[in-house]
């Protein structure tokens, strides 16, 4: 603590280092500077290090006019470190999972494996830097390692190297021990991928271990199902034999709120994933739909028609102390909290005719309309609180052009971007915890299925294929 602070303050105060940008330097200065200074290149960005020897401190200047490129990352296949026959299967699972996770992260430009040198490294001593940093791979980062099963144990070593920085290349070195099963190999690959994404993605945790909850009718009834973020491990959660809709996972991932058709009416139900059963939640009468957890997990907002017309109510997580927030005429449904602050709620209202998206403070004041026309539903707040995704017919009516697509809207400026296009009805967007992905329901393949995409609308992928699947909800972490 003290060393760094002392050093920094000592260096700063007595002599103010002049700010020299390279374009302003005279040739003589530049020539001397060249001898003293190190000039590392850094993935397309120009970094000039001015090392003033007497001060022993650095000034790095980078300026770019072309934005930042994605990191070019090579992920070589891990090598077997033991002679166990199980290694082949485990390696395949591990390598495939690792590649998919890194490829799906959205922040890397993955170097195709066909460009790799023939001798892939299994440990740091085997890395040939020039072979990776030069063409054809042109990688700036390299993930490599080895995997070995001994008996029932699996040991994985993984490294992440900055191959353009020969002096101190290691960014990450990890060792994992787990059972020698394909599931464990998958989990280990997820963990290693998350670690890489965490380091190179600016402290945003990876989503490889997150879950998606959704509605599926493949058991004959519409029940709540869950799956991993990449579509694997799909399994049924509720067995109510009724119709269950709009699942919403609590921020801590322990409870699932949804609306279900009871004997007489639609009611909010809460299912505990720890206890694997429904937990008590009061029945309000009327039609109760679309629950939504506050970011601290202590409150639940939902739409209820107990007072006649559908309005937004907020209550405790156990359903007590609920009170009405909206007082207008016309139905109000689909509340969703600002995930960053918990101070605002977006909702859908039909007060002016066709449904439009509005925001209000969490106490019901300051109602503002966000969409100006058409038919807008299913708002979903981004984790950084800055964006709302919604499903919108910009032009609505018989013969109107356009379709039901997902839009991204900036709350403060009301600017928007259309994310999906040319493909069926797209609805129910939901954000991933890292704010880089959006899961949604689309009928572009012919039937309602769950799809994901990056938050800039690219890399669209289908996750579900059997039955009809709808209303996805991404877990909070």
């Amino acid at each position: 603590m003290s060393h760094g602070m002392l050093n920094a303050s000592k260096c700063r105060n007595p002599i103010k280092v002049p700010r020299i940008s390279t374009e302003r330097m005279s040739p003589e200065v530049w020539k001397t500077a060249r001898r003293l200074f190190v000039v590392p290149t850094l993935a397309g960005a120009l970094a000039v290090v001015l090392a003033i020897p007497s001060l022993a401190q650095d000034w790095i200047r980078t300026g770019t006019g072309l934005g930042l490129e994605k990191v070019r990352l090579a992920a070589s296949d891990f090598k077997p470190s033991t002679q166990d026959p199980k290694n082949t299967d485990l390696l395949k699972t591990f390598n495939d999972t690792l590649w998919n996770d890194l490829d799906n992260a959205g922040i890397f430009d993955m170097v195709s494996k066909s460009f790799y040198p023939l001798d892939v490294p299994g440990n740091p001593a085997e890395v040939r830097f020039e072979a990776w940093s030069g063409p054809p791979p042109n990688a700036s980062m390299l993930a490599f390692g080895d995997l070995g099963a001994t008996g029932n144990n699996l040991v994985v070593h993984g490294w992440l190297y900055d191959v353009k920085n020969v002096g101190s290349p290691q960014v990450l070195g990890k060792q994992y021990t787990d059972a020698a099963t394909p599931d464990a190999a998958r989990l280990t690959a997820h963990k290693f991928a998350d670690e890489i994404i965490f380091r190179l993605g600016g402290g945003v945790p990876g989503i490889a271990e997150s879950k998606i909850y959704f509605v599926s009718d493949r058991s004959g009834h519409k029940e709540i199902w869950a799956m991993d973020y990449d579509g694997s491990n799909q399994h049924q959660i509720t067995h109510l034999g009724s119709i269950s809709l709009s699942p919403r996972i609590s921020p801590d991932g322990s409870r699932l709120a949804f609306s279900s058709l009871g004997k007489t009416s639609w009611e909010i139900m809460v299912y505990s994933l720890d206890l694997n059963r429904l937990v008590a939640f009061p029945k309000f009468g009327g039609t109760n739909l679309s629950p939504s957890w506050s970011p601290d997990g202590t409150k639940l907002a939902f739409a209820s028609s107990r007072g006649g017309e559908s309005n937004i109510y907020v209550g405790d997580a156990a359903g007590t102390n609920s009170r009405r927030l909206t007082t207008d005429r016309g139905p109000d449904v689909g509340p969703t909290w600002n995930r960053k602050t918990g101070a605002q709620i977006a909702f859908v209202s039909g007060r002016t005719g066709l449904p439009q998206v509005y925001t209000m403070e969490a106490d019901g004041t300051n109602v503002q309309r966000l969409t100006d026309q058409g038919y807008a539903v299913s708002p979903s707040w981004s984790p950084n609180g800055q964006f709302l995704t919604l499903s919108w017919f910009r032009k609505y009516g018989p013969g109107a052009p356009g379709a039901n697509d997902i839009y991204l809207m900036d709350i403060a400026s009301k600017q928007w971007v259309q994310l999906t296009h040319d493909g069926g009805k797209n609805d129910y967007p939901s954000w991933s915890p890292d704010g880089r992905h959006i899961v949604f329901q689309s009928s572009r393949s012919g039937s309602e299925q769950i799809w994901t995409m990056l938050a800039d609308g690219t890399k669209v992928q289908q996750l579900t294929f059997s039955g009809r699947n709808s209303q996805p909800n991404w877990s909070w972490k």
């Binding site: 650095d58 200047r61 770019t64 002096g167 109602v367 400026s413 880089r436």
Partner: protein, 260 residues
């Protein structure tokens, strides 16, 4: 007389139902107005029409993804990375039909075009290989701060260990990316087209949290200074400092160049 009397009798007999009718009509009108006021007196227009203004078809900023190199102005997300459009299919002209000689056809004299009648031909349209509107890779709005409309930025690192930038180039890159993602250019006064460079200095502690944000040198434009400080303050974390780095914090100097 009796007939007259009957007539008078009939006239006087109309007065009562007429009055009753008027009273009833008034009552019905009153009831309608009353209920109209009661039922529609409040509420229905409350909060409505707030966003009634036209929403600008412009781009959303700061999706936490690296900006693509190719800057486009499309409002529609597009997977195509193409920089150039595909060339149009070549048209093959059908061979000219052979004209059938017709004796009776009247040959019209061709109008004589004098110099004064000649129109100057429009300059030939330049063949460009530009990407048509809405076709140029993923939406790449101003979230790549440094690329948007000529604005760019840069920064300096001041590490306790001496050569932070050399040893941890990847971390420097992360900082650059995070700040660029979080600079919202619409916070800057739209009347400003160009401004001096603003220098902002801040610390990153071991857990990666920025702190101690201060303006080192103002640009002279308060809204630009403010947007630069907010860009840093908006960031929760840059990710923990490299584990083998010995110092307790890193001081960063970041500059923002603004040009619209």
């Amino acid at each position: 007389m009796q007939a007259d009397a009957e007539i008078f009798f009939e006239h006087s007999g109309l007065r009562k139902p007429l009055a009753l009718s008027v009273v009833l009509h008034l009552a019905i009108t009153g009831v309608i107005v009353f209920f109209g006021v009661i039922l529609h007196g409040h509420g229905s227009a409350w909060g409505a029409g707030g966003g009634g203004d036209a929403i600008g078809v412009s781009l959303v900023s700061t999706v936490p993804l690296p900006a693509s190199q190719v800057q486009t102005q499309n409002v529609l997300a597009n997977d195509s990375k193409g920089l150039t459009k595909s060339l149009p299919q070549e048209k093959t002209n059908e061979p000219d039909a052979i004209p059938i000689a017709d004796k009776h056809a009247k040959t019209k004299p061709k109008p004589v075009i004098t110099a004064s009648h000649q129109k100057t031909p429009p300059p030939p349209a330049e063949e460009t290989n530009e990407v048509p509107f809405g076709q140029g890779g993923p939406v790449s709005g101003p979230y790549g701060t440094f690329s948007a409309a000529g604005a760019k930025g840069g920064f300096g690192f001041q590490g306790g260990g001496g050569d932070f930038g050399t040893a941890y180039a990847w971390y420097v890159r992360v900082v650059q990316q995070k700040v660029s993602e979080n600079w919202l250019k619409y916070e800057v006064d739209p009347n400003i087209h160009q401004a001096n460079r603003v220098y902002v200095q801040f610390d990153i502690n071991r857990s990666g949290r920025p702190g101690n944000v201060q303006i080192e040198q103002s640009s002279g434009v308060p809204s630009l200074d403010q947007s630069a400080v907010r860009a840093i303050q908006r960031i929760d974390t840059f990710g923990p400092l490299p584990p083998d780095y010995s110092g307790s914090k890193v001081t960063v100097e970041f500059w923002f160049d603004y040009k619209r």
